[in-house]
């Protein structure tokens, strides 16, 4: 049985942003402020110069404290990080072979230097810390709340609309792919692996065309309800004392992390 709400208590009694703000795990900080704090944290991690290990360590400890206060499923977190790490490694592996001082290994034109290792280690560390922050955010905040928070933070509405559509339709596309796969298996898709790869390739192509068609139909459905290119949102948030405090602590913490390198 579905639970019921009092629909007359507030204009946005149904707004998930109101409910998330009152859950104990959120420390009662407005979701938009939580998102802002996470973005500040990621920005600070990103601008940390290479080789400032102490800053990375402090930020890592900060994230560990947040993880302690707002526990998440660590297995799920590790799985997410593992998948994301594949992309990260592919993107940054080239840094290992960059020119620099202190050649450790050389084979023809290819060489590994101390500078290369420091840069690679720093970039990898920063990416993992950033991924940790973002994963923590998305694992502790429902997606609708996250999208509304982005809207409050004045992120371009079109970008939010794209994110919302991706969230809404990702499952649908996976379902469609699984339906095609089931249909193929039902007709005895048990032949060699080469044939299976060919069939899966065709399915992905078909999925692309279906996605395109569906996108067109969704856009038509949006137009039919008066959509004029911008998602209208009337939600706003009023900063409370604890929101300001959370923001202040985050800012002081990132500044402390940056200064620590020079103080130690």
């Amino acid at each position: 049985m579905l639970h019921s709400h009092d629909h007359h208590s507030h204009h946005y009694a149904h707004s998930p942003i109101q409910q998330a703000a009152s859950t104990p795990l959120s420390l009662n900080v407005a979701p938009a402020i939580q998102v802002l704090c996470a973005l500040i944290m990621v920005l600070a991690i990103g601008v940390t110069p290479n080789g400032h290990w102490i800053t990375g360590l402090i930020y890592g400890m900060g994230i560990a404290i947040v993880l302690f206060i707002r526990p998440v499923n660590l297995t799920k977190l590790a799985q997410r990080l593992a998948v994301e790490s594949v992309f990260v490694i592919v993107a940054v592996i080239g840094l290992l072979f960059r020119d620099g001082e202190g050649v450790l290994w050389q084979w023809g034109g290819l060489k590994i230097t101390v500078t290369g290792l420091v840069v690679l280690g720093s970039v990898m560390g920063k990416l993992w810390l950033s991924l940790l922050v973002m994963n923590l955010l998305t694992m502790t905040m429902p997606i609708p709340v996250l999208l509304q928070s982005l809207s409050i933070l004045k992120i371009p509405p079109l970008l939010i609309a794209i994110l919302a559509s991706m969230h809404r339709y990702l499952e649908l596309l996976i379902d469609e792919f699984m339906t095609m796969r089931r249909a193929a298996i039902a007709r005895n898709l048990v032949a060699g692996k080469r044939w299976q790869r060919l069939v899966v390739g065709n399915m992905i192509g078909s999925l692309f065309i279906r996605t395109y068609d569906r996108g067109d139909r969704i856009h038509q459905a949006m137009l039919s309800r008066g959509y004029q290119g911008v998602i209208v949102n009337q939600t706003s948030v009023r900063l409370r004392r604890r929101d300001r405090l959370a923001l202040l602590i985050t800012i002081l913490f990132v500044i402390f992390g940056q200064l620590a390198f020079y103080l130690v």
Binding site: M1, L2, H3, S4, H5, H7, H8, H11, Y12, A13, H14, S15, P16, Q19, I143, P144, L147, A164, S165, H167, R168, Y169, E171, L172, R214, R217, I218, Q220, A221, M222, L223, S224, R225, G226, Y227, Q228, I231, V232, N233, Q234
Partner: protein, 250 residues
């Protein structure tokens, strides 16, 4: 409520590949009418409905919705006037929660928060949606629930005309029955494109038959649904309650 909700004169439309989708359509739908639009696959029903909401603009002919001629400058008023419920609710429900989706249309109309709350609540009540649905992800609802949310999203815009494309498709018998009962109670002009001739018979006094883009019948529903030869000629069949009366034990 405008007395002559929809007026169409000599409407024709062909697709970019030159396939003729609609051919010289002329008709009037008056306020409060509940009209069935039937026809085989590819007869032009969906294309026709999309013209009424301005998704497609007439290539030849004229459409007047209420007092507005179908022109780009009146599209906002026309889309407020005619609500379109798409065949597949997954094409229509794209927001993260049911409440956000139902409020999408009214927000585009510029409705202020207090009235928005009332409108969305009324639309949910009309569709028999419990308040607990508000925060649910539309993707996780059953087919019948999705359909009701899709209709609620259009009703919240308070249109004077609602057009429905295959409303009973993908519904189980109980959801179909609930939908028919709900449509019976809606006090607005309705145009229902359907293959479900039993639904047409139960809901609509007037039926328009489309065949290869042309209107081949416009009149009383009972009359055309009794005419088996005519229905077969246009790739249709009589409703079960006529052709197999033993199926109707009510």
């Amino acid at each position: 409520m405008h007395h002559n909700a929809i007026s169409i004169q000599h409407l024709s439309y062909h697709y970019p590949d030159k396939t003729q989708a609609l051919d010289n359509i002329s008709l009037n739908i008056h306020a409060g009418d509940r009209v069935a639009l039937i026809g085989a696959n590819g007869s032009g029903k969906s294309t026709f409905l999309q013209h009424l909401n301005g998704i497609l603009l007439p290539q030849i002919g004229e459409i007047t919705i209420g007092e507005y001629p179908m022109e780009p400058k009146f599209l906002k008023q026309i889309r407020d006037f005619v609500g379109l419920v798409f065949q597949n609710p997954d094409d229509q429900l794209f927001m993260s929660t049911v409440w956000e989706d139902i409020s999408f249309g009214p927000l585009n109309q510029g409705i202020q928060p207090q009235e928005l709350q009332v409108r969305c609540q009324q639309a949910m009540n009309a569709m028999g949606l419990d308040p607990g649905y508000a925060d649910r992800n539309p993707g996780h609802l059953s087919g019948g629930e999705k359909k009701r949310v899709a209709i609620a999203g259009v009703l919240a815009m308070q249109p004077q005309v609602i057009t429905l494309d295959e409303p009973s498709a993908q519904l189980d018998p109980r959801s179909r029955r609930q939908l028919i009962d709900l449509l019976k109670t809606l006090p607005i002009t309705q145009l229902i494109a359907t293959h479900d001739l039993d639904l047409a018979l139960e809901l609509c006094h007037r039926t328009i038959v489309l065949s290869r883009g042309q209107i081949v019948y416009d009149g009383r529903t009972e009359e055309v649904l009794y005419n088996t030869a005519f229905l077969h000629e246009h790739a249709l069949e009589p409703p079960l309650s006529y052709s197999r009366p033993y199926c109707d034990r009510s």
